[in-house]
Symmetry: C3
């Protein structure tokens, strides 16, 4: 109990930091592949990184936002954008679909855990907490794809993505209901979500086609 109160905020911070970097990278890669200019790449990087969490905080009426409380993170993401662009320019690094998918899977798990735990801390119902986790995890990428003028990949590529966040979110809610310490539930959520997404990519799982 004491440990949780002590470690909770620090853990939450580290989780959001890692997820932010992972998603910013996925946004930078997508925008560069769509041929956006340097400004567009940075904006899409920011949107992918902060979009899901900001939307969650708007819906939960939580302020100040993560990036207002920790302005350093904004500078960090900006530095990441510049470094990534410089690196890609230097090395003629060919960005493949696969290269985008791995940071994305990690970010999905981390953000889902952050979203669920924030909603549970506000004592919202389990279903709403899971939805907040899915929104936090998925909508950064959804906004990224909408700005890039594509149907969001999460909804159209027939691979499990939001489903992983859903399963991970319910794991978190279930464990929390059983009285498991918060950091264990969060860790399980990250592991289940990112692990299931990784498995899906590795084994090439397809969502069951619902129409012949």
């Amino acid at each position: 109990m004491n440990t949780l109160a002590h470690w909770g905020p620090a853990l939450q911070f580290i989780v959001e930091l890692l997820a932010t970097a992972a998603f910013a990278l996925s946004g930078i890669m997508k925008a560069s592949r769509k041929g956006l200019d340097a400004v567009g790449v940075c904006v899409v990087g920011f949107l992918a990184a902060f979009g899901g969490g900001t939307l969650r905080d708007l819906l939960l009426d939580q302020r100040p936002f993560f990036w207002v409380r920790h302005v350093d993170v904004l500078w960090g993401v900006l530095a990441l954008c510049v470094l990534a662009m410089a690196f890609m320019r230097q090395s003629h690094f060919q960005l493949t679909e696969k290269a985008i998918q791995w940071p994305d899977a990690l970010g999905l798990g981390l953000f889902t855990a952050a979203g669920v735990s924030q909603a549970l801390a506000l004592e919202l119902p389990g279903m709403v907490a899971v939805i907040m986790g899915v929104i936090t995890g998925v909508f950064g990428g959804v906004l990224r794809d909408i700005v890039c003028n594509e149907i969001p990949a999460a909804f159209s590529d027939h691979r499990p993505y939001a489903v992983c966040a859903l399963v991970g979110g319910w794991t978190d809610v279930g464990l929390s209901t059983l009285g498991v310490p918060g950091w264990v539930a969060m860790g399980a959520c990250v592991a289940v979500t990112a692990g299931m997404r990784g498995l899906a990519l590795w084994q090439d799982w397809q969502l069951p086609a619902w129409r012949p």
Copy 2:
């Protein structure tokens, strides 16, 4: 007066419930026609159903949201999504433009009435109340079309849609200003909006072209 205080919340609830189901169905149909996967169909169904009302509540700073207060409705829409997909798969049901339009017209009327009455209850000016009604009625569909990567049909198909919500909304505001009981004004708003939309579809009305 007493009756209104008694019936107001229940009426508001039933109106939002019916409109939610109608819009979810329109979202499910649109997403399935665009070839989205099962997850995408559910998300677009949720977005069409709750998008307009949630945007209105965000703008009016009203919380908790409809779907946080009534978590059962979330389960209901989820069940509707699953049932609709199962039914469409079983029956090889061909989804036509027309099949989408009728639940959409009903939902438009019901949501517009809900939006206007909520803004009037907050004593906002008539013009703002009408805009809130139009946003509640139209923006679920707008978000649905944006996620499906189309120009929103409401703004581009040269048929009266938002215009119906506008006329219905002013009917509601006008009657309320005249001191008519709230449920009569709401009923008139639903009837005018959905009726005018139905007439427009039946008679194939076109918005006057504003450019040669």
Copy 3:
């Protein structure tokens, strides 16, 4: 000090009014070029005019919105939409890329200044104030382009746009930190942003390509 307290709100109002008209016009022009119907032209005009400021106010949790406080402005923009459509119909006025760019440049400067000064008044960090300025200036146009189903021009046309708002925003924050009166800092922000954008259009500046 006394002068600022006296003139600040009036200046803020005039700045937002001019920017609103400029952006509404840019939205009307874009929507008409995309072949949207009369309703779509009005909605995109409203979205371009009020989208950036409303998003800023949502993020800063500032209410009532500009357009709820000043309902007259809504009627004004509606009149502007109708007049612009009538004028374009009468005169067979050919809308060119260039015709859109000038009101857009002015609106960008005015909105950026309004956004930065509102965030500074809430004593937010400089970086956040600049981001709010950029959001206020750029996201009306971004929403306009998303609804018109295009990749936002601000992120993809390889011309300085958001960069101008960024430079203007930092000018405002820098001058304010130095203790310069608020209206001077705002004026400098408008001049730098709109001037830099104008120069960029006139001299045909390109953003440095970051990829060979």
